[in-house]
Subunit: 584 residues, 2 copies
């Protein structure tokens, strides 16, 4: 195969057009076999095969620098820059990450996993080059879906003022993760339909030069276009029209399902494993759809990831006007939610833990200063969740729990989760975020759960013992129960507490514990720094109570095994019991 | 005067055109007298007098809802909605805030003080209205400067898909706080020069309808335009061309100086008080300008607030390509800084504490995961800084200090500040943020300060005592010195420590303190929750060491007296000494 001989971009430059066409087919085949067995981003990579070949044929990476937005389309680039083996041989599949990774290759310039960042990052390479007197090309590659993020706009707007070489490839596959949302997409469509001639041109309105390439999967057209813009002396957007999922029929036909996929059967496109477990996304969508029937003001909101809250295409259609996808635009989602709540309707924004951090200022300014009663469901917040360094889901507690006015709740069971959600939707006094349980799956309550959470920061004692008190936050309530049992085996009847509220301390209860407890331990499924446990440590700072905070060390970790990360951070039952015994 | 009789919009609707022109002159006169005596936003308000009269003449506030971006132009609105007295009578000047404030008036819908939020917030009012079956007009008013922020783009893009009433007034006064920056402003200029006819139209490219009003200070033209769009059944942008500073010559001529101003002499425009104190902004600019001469890769960055880091117009010109204003676009600033550092040049981004929170995801993803050696100077981070609820500057510690890889430094003196800055610019190992001292002014070091900060988290013991150890962070080192003296008067020779590093604990030193100390106190000029002191409380959790954390309670406070806020939070020398004695 040709692909086996490609050790770097120099090998691409030596190919004939026919060989490049063959190479593209081989790359697609490799993508199909790897992703169908291993899972990963699929549709966006299939669409970018030809453009990536053309980029490496025309430009001189790594001297010329190519920055791939969000990395969803970076697999072909990895294949052509010395990393093809990781796509060809199953035993090597795990040798590359799913994202741009400078430690893997000099052809990768940044670790990138959140969207809409490529133009801004690349603009820094441009500015640095110009300050230091370099001459190389800087190229940012960004998908149409990523253009809806504010940072991408800020980058384009800035680029429009740069009078120097900067090439922005807008990879228009007419899809975000799900369908595109935003007025911008109307004018992109006009551009495609007029072969780039429509005067209604977003990029030009930001002061940028512009070129359209209809054959975004035609290597010849792409090489010609890229050759024309190479060494250009000003910023230009090259808008290429590509087909998401190209070459694999099920992926061309169901673009959303194959944007990112778990392993699947090549013949049918069907997932190899259908999950039969109860899933909080599904449960959430079903619950909200039921409530929407009674309450016309209830509206679900997503920022381009409807699946996380269970809103499949069918369910989005069923919800109609009561479900809004704002595109990849978390700032808009949070601010709009505040406005909807102010208008008296009932917004519920469902978002991955790793993406809520894209809207800190909106949470603080637009939502919490205004104290509007919007509901935010934070999904996947856990050390046992996504394990790519760009998608860590364990910083949401420090992010959210230190913003005034916000009530951040941590349910331990499904019943508590829905009771909290229903309360939040009903009440008018607070912005509320709820950390959807993760670590122990869908657990069910043994008794009745509270319906009203308006008496803030009231922790729940579920077992009254003495000497040691365990504050098990959210899912880690169940770790707390394990620890309680472990201590019981050692003859210690520990108190077990479900704190429920992340954003505050139950001072009366904590004071009461001083009477017959020597040690309080906190268990949280997230980073320790700035989190929940430190508030408890501060509370007891001047008292003789000993406090042990269990949670994760502040560090960026990548492609870890959750069980190993937990162990490393002393988050197993055995370690915790031992640590407690050591301080008694 | 007419203005004295305006108790609400109904009174505006009764006026003749001549009376409205007179009213405009009276309003301008009131603005001039109030702001010249009291300080405040000036130029943007002068430019919006006519448009605000026309808005209230045409629309039916508060049923129709008007949302003012950033509130820099909201004073005329306040005057026409029952709050004129606060602009007419000096003894009532403080009865209104400088920002939109729902607790003041039903005509204000949100507390707003950060830019670029109005369209997103108003889009929520639109969505809420549509869900609940309302018919009112929703109007967002946004300045051209605010359009450079990503959230404004996200809002416009979302609006472009809304098939329902939504009126966006783009108030184009051709200025941001300083001059506008971004390619967008070229096409806005084209629109102004072609009376709105240019096909190169940013708003239309986002799927929005569009109308241009050249006479943005002509009440008649404005009334006609607003009447045309009233009750429209789809979103439209009404682009109005206004004059910033209109009616006061010095403000028309020096728009940047009069965007926001301290009290000034009406005859000359000169500030009533010239500050003669040393100022960290000035010192920073002078220091960087000197270093820029030696290092062509050194580049200062601002997101539309160059003054905070001392970069006046003259100094920006002196820096040339080594100073970049990205416009109101903090996300771009941080991501670009990461890219510049990656390219081997030396970015230094100066930013207000309250605005760095607009770029949390960029700090985490674009900068810190990539571990690029950019320098961020955080100005005004203190409880004794800006006191409007939207501009609180005491949440930067929890925001920054819990992000892995970042080194957040807290200098106590000018010498330490510049030594840290020089080190940060030199080194390649870490992204670094520096909290510029505030509370005790520019203090000078008595001895030599360290030049190298690469041995992370090494605290400095400046006085070795026993029993009590004081960790005085940054400016609060000086509060620590006061407390040390206070304790000395009570016969306690306390240890005083300058921690210098906010992002980590000096474990060896903290362990050593256990030998001959019973109490450790932490002093931080910010909110306690998620901050520095809690890390110390956690460190000592399982030990007998008592820890007292001093800092501010987590709450939004508005228009407070810093001295009172400090007292309320037990942050005076006397209170701290007493609290320490109580636990000994």
């Amino acid at each position: 195969m040709i692909i086996e001989k490609i050790k770097g971009p120099a090998d691409v430059k030596r190919l004939s057009m026919d060989e490049m066409v063959t190479l593209a087919a081989e790359m697609r085949n490799a993508l199909l076999h790897k992703v169908s067995a291993h899972g990963g981003h699929f549709g966006p990579n299939l669409g970018m095969v030809e453009a990536t070949i053309a980029l490496h044929y025309v430009f001189n990476s790594p001297v010329d620098k190519i920055v791939f937005d969000v990395s969803h389309q970076s697999y072909p680039h990895k294949m052509l820059t010395g990393r093809a083996d990781a796509f060809l041989y199953p035993e090597k599949y795990d040798e590359v990450s799913g994202y741009s990774e400078p430690t893997e290759s000099v052809h990768d310039h940044f670790v990138i996993g959140h969207t809409s960042t490529s133009i801004s990052l690349a603009s820094g390479l441009v500015k640095g080059r110009d300050l230091l007197g370099g001459k190389e090309n800087v190229i940012a590659v960004i998908g149409d879906g990523s253009l809806s993020g504010g940072e991408a706009f800020e980058g384009l707007d800035f680029a429009g003022e740069l009078g120097t070489n900067f090439i922005i490839i807008a990879n228009d596959n007419q899809m975000s993760i799900a369908e595109d949302h935003g007025g911008l997409y109307k004018s992109l469509k006009e551009l495609r339909e007029t072969n780039g001639k429509s005067p209604n041109n977003y990029f030009k309105s930001l002061g940028l030069d512009y070129m359209y390439v209809d054959g975004g999967n035609d290597i010849g057209q792409l090489i010609q276009a890229f050759s024309e813009v190479k060494d250009i002396d000003h910023p230009i957007v090259v808008h290429i029209n590509t087909l998401k999922g190209k070459g694999y029929k099920p992926a061309e036909e169901d673009k959303e399902r194959f944007h990112w996929t778990m392993p699947f059967d090549i013949a049918t496109g069907k997932p190899l494993k259908e999950s039969t477990r109860e899933d909080y996304g599904d449960l959430t969508a079903l619950h909200l759809l039921e409530k929407m029937k009674e309450d016309k003001g209830l509206v679900g909101i997503t920022a381009a990831t409807p699946a996380v809250m269970g809103f499949t295409k069918e369910r989005r259609e069923a919800a109609g006007k009561q479900f809004v996808d704002v595109g990849i635009a978390e700032e808009q989602a949070v601010a709009m939610a505040s406005g909807i709540a102010k208008a008296g309707a009932r917004p519920v924004f469902g978002v991955f833990s790793t993406f809520i951090q894209r809207a800190y200022d909106q949470l603080s300014q637009d939502l919490c200063i205004n104290n509007n009663p919007a509901t935010i469901l934070v999904f996947c917040g856990s050390l046992s969740s996504m394990n790519d360094v760009t998608h860590l889901c364990f910083f949401d507690i420090p992010l959210l729990c230190n913003i005034p006015n916000l009530v951040y709740l941590a349910p331990a069971t499904a019943e508590e989760y829905f009771a909290m959600m229903d309360w939040s939707i009903r009440q008018d006094a607070h912005p509320v975020a709820i950390r959807v349980p993760v670590a122990y799956g869908v657990k069910h309550a043994s008794g009745k759960v509270d319906a009203d959470y308006s008496d803030l920061n009231r922790y729940q004692v579920t077992h009254k013992g003495s000497k040691v008190a365990i504050l098990g936050l959210g899912s880690f309530y169940w770790l707390g129960e394990e620890v309680r049992q472990g201590l019981a085996e050692k003859g210690i009847d520990a108190t077990l507490i479900n704190p429920r509220y992340i954003t505050g301390t139950d001072d009366a209860l904590l004071d009461e514990l001083k009477q017959d407890h020597e040690v309080v331990i906190t268990l949280e499924d997230g980073v320790l720094d700035g989190g929940y446990g430190e508030k408890i440590a501060r509370f007891y700072g001047a008292s003789p109570m000993k406090v042990l905070n269990f949670g994760a060390k502040k560090e960026f970790v990548d492609r870890f095994k959750p069980s190993e990360l937990l162990k490393k951070n002393h988050l197993t039952k055995e370690q915790i019991v031992e640590d407690v015994l050591n301080v008694l």
